[in-house]
Symmetry: C2
Subunit: 494 residues, 2 copies
């Protein structure tokens, strides 16, 4: 989920200067309105970027009215604190109704103590359970819990720190802890992601904010806080429901995970034929090994209408033995399926050992079409991130190879494909009015996809965003991911 936030958001000085004054006014006004509200705000700020964490906490205090916000930096436990249960200090410093309590750094401390061996695995597990329970209980009783995680890629941090060390005026800011933390992060990225996933509870998810650019970062943090408080005050988001991640108005530039792919990429037919053959041969060999050694595979395909999911899937199944796979085309649930939990039909079709199941549209419908069309309530689709993560965790723990693909095309390319289909008699039936209706909600889907990838991508069940304006290169890219994913999964088998 962290890597998925690295989309390159920046904000220019001019833009920043334009938005800052109003933002500060809005923040302080929200604080005043909050004073009479029947809920308090518990604001967790953490991150893998210590410098950014410090700066953001300072910035929040600078921009808000210090009388109504209390900041608590979760340093090493003090004498008083270490004599009580770990979360005693969080309860002690809990904001009452009408106030904001800012707690900085706690989650990273938990991880670091475990990595350093100061906290046993059992204690660490218990702490995570308690943290989950505490949040669920606070949310249920009405506290607004806002959680911000600041992410800067380790590489960028190293570069920044080297530069700062060479600088007489800034070098003193960098200490050994910063370098040690970076080493740790690069080794323990998967564990950190797991921690963020497990401590994201319904109604209190982590908002991961890209921290590389200071101006973008500060504005994004401020707006996350502002939106959450405002939505709750105006009852746009009732207790227990988190506000949307949409922080920037359409006029402003906010990058999403979909901006990270290069839609201009193409492959010529000759290269395609050659590479396709070679990839399929390799995947075929790996699939035989998977069957012999009992490795099951789940491939999940999502993407825009007409993005070419079917074609990409066929290029995979061509490489497999007929008895080794099933393709599950997921349509709107039948009357019979509606009698069950929405995950039931996907559980039902899981592959046995050694086999592939390829889902053409998936359980992610809950946070895409069902979210946008209103078939699921806000509480339902927001809860679904946790439910889906838990589902996929169970697959991964069972040793199943899981990969998820979003086939991305531009709106223009989609339109061209719709029109081409309409002009092709045997394909015309594939285009309906609904397809055109869905296009009108393109921007909403972009947000939903961005949030979905952020919340559900993990080292062990990654999302691959595929540039699919060129069908040929998209198919090769998908096959390439399947090949390397299978290889990795086979290596991990006992």
């Amino acid at each position: 989920m962290l890597e998925a936030s690295e989309v390159g958001n920046t904000m220019s000085k001019a833009e920043f200067k334009e938005v800052e004054p109003q933002l500060r006014v809005d923040l302080v006004n929200a604080q005043y309105d909050l004073r009479d509200a029947d809920f308090g705000v518990l604001l967790f700020v953490a991150g893998d970027d210590r410098v950014a964490g410090n700066e953001v906490v300072n910035r929040i205090n600078e921009w808000m009215d210090a009388r109504f916000i209390q900041t608590h930096v979760m340093g090493p436990l003090s004498g008083e604190e270490s004599m009580r249960p770990r979360f005693w200090r969080v309860w002690r410093d809990m904001p009452p109704k009408g106030r904001i309590g800012l707690m900085a750094g706690g989650i990273m401390r938990l991880l670091n103590e475990n990595l350093a061996g100061d906290l046993s695995d059992e204690q660490y597990e218990h702490a995570i359970d308690h943290l989950e329970q505490m949040q669920e209980s606070l949310v249920a009783e009405g506290t607004l819990v806002i959680k911000i995680f600041l992410h800067t890629p380790a590489k960028k941090q190293r570069k920044r720190m080297k530069k700062a060390e060479g600088n007489k005026d800034e070098g003193w800011r960098i200490d050994q802890r910063d370098w040690a933390m970076l080493d740790l992060l690069e080794e323990s990225g998967a564990k950190l992601e797991q921690l963020l996933r497990r401590t994201s509870v319904a109604g209190a998810p982590w908002s991961v904010i890209e921290a590389t650019n200071r101006r973008y970062r500060d504005v994004a943090v401020a707006r996350t806080i502002l939106n959450a408080i405002t939505a709750r005050l105006t009852e746009d988001a009732p207790a227990g429901v988190a506000v949307s991640d949409q922080l920037f108005s359409p006029g402003e530039r906010q990058a999403t995970v979909l901006d990270t792919v290069d839609l201009a990429r193409t492959t010529d037919k000759a290269t395609y034929d050659k590479e396709l053959n070679s990839l399929q041969r390799e995947v075929h060999g790996l699939a035989r090994q998977a069957r012999d050694r009992g490795l099951a595979t789940v491939l999940a395909f999502e993407g825009w209408d007409a993005a070419g999911k079917g074609g990409a899937i066929r290029r995979i199944t061509q490489a497999l033995e007929a008895g080794d796979y099933r393709v599950i085309s997921t349509a709107a649930p039948t009357q019979e399926e509606l009698k069950y939990h929405y995950l039931w039909r996907f559980w039902r079709d899981l592959p046995p050992a050694g086999r592939f199941v390829i889902y053409d549209r998936t359980w992610y419908g809950r946070v895409l079409v069902e979210r946008i069309e209103g078939f699921a309530t806000a509480a339902q689709w927001q809860r679904a991130y946790d439910e889906i993560n838990d589902f996929e965790d169970q697959l991964v723990e069972r040793g199943i190879y899981v990969a998820k693909f979003w086939l991305h095309i531009s709106a223009e390319e989609q339109l061209a494909r719709f029109q081409a289909r309409e002009n092709t008699p045997e394909k015309a039936h594939k285009i309906t009015e609904e397809d055109y209706r869905n296009r009108e909600r393109w921007d909403e889907y972009v947000q939903a996809v961005d949030q979905m990838v952020l919340r559900t991508s993990s080292t062990d069940a990654p999302w691959h965003i595929i540039a699919a304006n060129d069908k040929l290169s998209a198919r090769l890219e998908v096959l390439d991911h399947v090949r390397s994913g299978l290889r990795k999964a086979l290596r991990k088998l006992p």
Copy 2:
């Protein structure tokens, strides 16, 4: 929580014959009404009594219409099942809306596999997490989850099995697994209780049913199912809220945990003086050790009005150094305290290392007065069992000695004390009209206390039910528990 269910419930043949026909009619009618409902029923039956488990599953199938209930015994994973994630079979066999799915034995299998080393501690922890998440998600999406745990004390099971083995006609029913399971249970009681607590989620708690007497057991099981389905159908208990544990009408006899104490017990003044002195001296010595070695203590006092909590607490504090303890008298929350989560004020007052905090009335107000007076909604007080267990688990994990006392008197004794107080000028102010009003709800309080003790008693934070009709013997009993509890806690220190 299991021991707390051992209250000696039985049912005579005559009573059974009287209730059985109507119960069967009601069960089948409920099934028919359920067919058109928009929810399914997931019924887990498990227990530490294998024989009872089998008999109960057979009984449910005998009493209900087999067309609308599917039974799945969670035996060892089959080939098909072992190739999927552990809970795949639960999802596969999930009841649709309108139907009942009975799953037998799964939770004990989880425990046994871990104890036998077939499931690592890490896998066991993950399985519990997934089980929690699954239930929360099912409950949130509308499934009615009913969970019945059949408990028979190991001693009684041994006796029964020895008798059966000697019997030509029944001996073949007993096999090695039964004896092995009993050994296991006696060693791992605390772990089983922990498992039941952790898998009790809001809206889907375990109902522990005393299984020693077959007739009582079967009727209690049937009524648990019937009440849950009926309450949901009639919307007495909306989705996510469990129905009350009240299974028997006042005319019928249902024992509660309060029936297990002998209210007739007395102590004469001479014995009292001697024993009090000796107990206080010992507690004083243990408290000094606790201070020196950093053991913190939390004592929680609840009980009927005028049961003598204050007097019992004073006999403890007399044995302590003034600087080593605080007594927290919990009244209705102040305006200031109402701005926080209900647990906040109790967290705030936790003792530092080496000190005592004695709460005179506690966080259990949530599931007693707040439940009965309607200050907390059903969803709130039902959630509170989990919240309280999690709170106390954090104390125990931090090494704090926790003990909870319910001072029990009869309704007659209470009335006599009220009247005596009214006739004593310096005590008359302690009696108000509210005290008399509370008496009218005596039976409701009995149910609430019974449920509270069942849901929140654990090996590490036990409830002690004190017979307090005789003040002197009550005080000695409390001190005796504190003495042995402190001793045990000191021995456990590293």
